[in-house]
């Protein structure tokens, strides 16, 4: 709290300008193209999965999570039960625990409610930008974080809606390979999450185990159970592999 009042008192100083809301908006700009294209693709996929424009707007405003929205669209199109979709998304988004935990030391001085506001729009991308900022400055300003998060949010929602509107006019998305936006997005996320760490061999073992379990259980039981079983078994295998080494 003390830090916050000093920041307010010095808003004219140049060092505090670097941590303002507007600066957060500016630091978000490099990620906007990525958001726009993926958000646009998500909108198209959601539309072709049979969601109405209102449902898509609601989903991007309330759920606001790229991979979760792709998964929801894919599973809705497959006719999966609601509970299965929600449980899969719970697992997919459990990784936010790690992101939120990693930035929590920088916001320790804030009240729980203000920490809630910092976390509510946290994504992989804004986390990436924020943790870089923390590495440079040794701290993250609350206002800067809001600037970053809100810019990403508005851009995502706009891209989603634009994609959905375009999706209306595409009668056969398969002809343009657009149905491949979803698997290609998962391929990209898989490769990025492996390359972003220094445990490539373990990650490849975990990935192959997950793929094998997912295919086996999908054919045997159902695709939804396949994803959940693959996650639980492969993450446990990952821990075991780490222990061996």
């Amino acid at each position: 709290m003390k830090m916050e009042t000093t920041t307010r008192a010095q808003t004219t100083g140049s060092s505090t300008n670097e941590e303002s809301f507007l600066m957060g908006v500016k630091d978000c700009l490099p990620t906007l193209l990525g958001y726009l294209s993926i958000g646009f693709a998500a909108g198209v996929v959601e539309k072709t999965a049979g969601l109405s424009i209102t449902e898509i707007i609601l989903m991007s405003l309330v759920l606001y999570a790229g991979s979760a929205q792709f998964i929801a669209a894919g599973m809705i199109a497959m006719g999966s039960p609601s509970a299965g979709i929600i449980i899969t998304i719970l697992f997919v988004n459990l990784r936010h625990l790690l992101l939120s935990a990693a930035i929590s030391p920088y916001f320790r001085q804030l009240s729980p409610f203000r920490n809630f506001l910092v976390g509510v729009l946290l994504t992989d991308e804004t986390f990436g930008v924020a943790i870089n900022e923390a590495a440079k400055r040794k701290r993250i300003s609350e206002k800067w974080m809001h600037g970053l998060n809100i810019t990403a949010y508005l851009n995502w929602c706009a891209a989603n809606i634009a994609g959905a509107l375009l999706g209306q006019w595409i009668t056969s998305p398969e002809k343009f390979g657009l149905d491949y936006a979803l698997p290609a997005m998962f391929i990209g996320l898989l490769v990025l999450s492996i390359l972003g760490r220094r445990t490539i061999r373990t990650d490849v073992i975990v990935g192959l185990a997950a793929a094998a379990v997912a295919i086996g259980v999908s054919l045997w039981v159902s695709p939804t159970v396949g994803v959940i079983a693959a996650t639980i078994i492969a993450a446990t295998i990952g821990m075991a592999v780490e222990k061996w080494k």
């Binding site: 929600i86 459990l94 976390g119 390979g177 698997p183 490769v191 999450s193 997950a210 379990v213 295998i237």
Partner: protein, 110 residues
Amino acid sequence: MEVRSEILWIILGSAAVTLIPRVLPLMVLSRFMLPDWSMRWLNHVPVSIMAALVAQELLIQDGKLVPLTSNTELFAAVPAFLVAIATRSLLGTVTVGIVSLMLLRLVLPG
């Protein structure tokens, strides 16, 4: 333009299970730490989920294994993987994947 009640529940339920992991550590971590093993387990979750989803998307259709020789989605995954590794760009990966599949469908019958 209406919102079906089943879709509304899916959206609200997914939003709730997404919101909690986003805010909970920020709100409580100064008072309470997650046990170490759970952090190590969670560390493997993203790769597991993405690999499972990629495998399902590429290999299964209508609850059955797609024959390897006629699996255009699997062929299109090769350039997509290479571009992802070389460029680390989601946009590049998605674009190359889509274009590859479009071309493969033009070239290969059926």
